[in-house]
Symmetry: C2
DNA sequence: GAAACTTACATGCACGTGCATTGGATGTCA
DNA sequence: TGACATCCAATGCACGTGCATGTAAGTTTC
């Protein structure tokens, strides 16, 4: 029966692997081709966009890091790419000058809204 | 209700992302630290080991590629690493000299068997 | 049988990632 | 206040990956 459990977890893992790879590849390709965005870049815009509903419209790097499956360095570079593309702006925090706030630019908001149907479309194909 | 479906697929995708990242990171780290194997390297050994039950004990690169979520080039380099480590051997096919057969070496079999409990352990923690 | 096409694998290259380190800011304790 | 630890973000570096291409072998078409 232990063998059966092993079989079972192996199957579950294989299935997770399959779903993850097919979906992330498709997201990556369609977001890149259609909107010039990598998947992790889109995910950052997505989180920032959701934060914009609160009063500040800002998010700290640390908060983003906690919500994403990305290392601190990878996140830092992703944000650098988005900043170079004019989609987000960095702003230092007045009270803790180590911390950085992030904000969507209008262009960033626009790009995100344009890309969202593509994103949802892929997910619907795989999970609906 | 469309919004609800969107919510739903987003949640499923987030969950897949979470499980994939935590599990693959853990597998990667534990296999690397304990057995000097990357995850994709382990997966190759795993498939080869299962093939060894048939008469030939060999597998073609193309067959491996079909069973793994890895590009052709990535697989080629993974096999190169395994070959350098002495865990697999490449052999050209007599009937089609483009094709390559792969075989586990005894060291490869041994390494795989040593690593398998680690692999299973991680999966059990995440899927049991 | 020669030319054009296809297939199998390797390799050059660019890119995104994680780890380790750095630089600067904040907190703590004596 | 001064010394030291901690924290945040950026950066150097090594590495694995995918894409595009190269090379060699097989296949098809005439």
């Amino acid at each position: 029966m232990e063998a059966e459990v092993s079989e079972d977890v192996c199957t579950k893992w294989s299935e997770t692997l399959r779903v993850y790879h097919t979906t992330s590849c498709e997201l990556e390709n369609e977001l890149q081709d259609g909107h010039d965005l990598g998947l992790s870049e889109f995910e950052v815009l997505k989180i920032l966009s959701s934060k914009c509903c609160d009063s500040t419209g800002k998010a700290k790097m640390k908060d983003l890091e906690a919500e994403m499956y990305l290392s601190q360095s990878a996140l830092s570079r992703t944000v650098t790419r988005l900043e170079k593309a004019g989609l987000v702006t960095r702003a230092t925090c007045d009270f803790d000058r180590r911390a950085m706030f992030l904000m969507l630019t209008p262009a960033g908001q626009e790009r995100y809204e344009a890309a969202q149907p593509t994103y949802r479309g892929v997910l619907l194909r795989h999970f609906a």
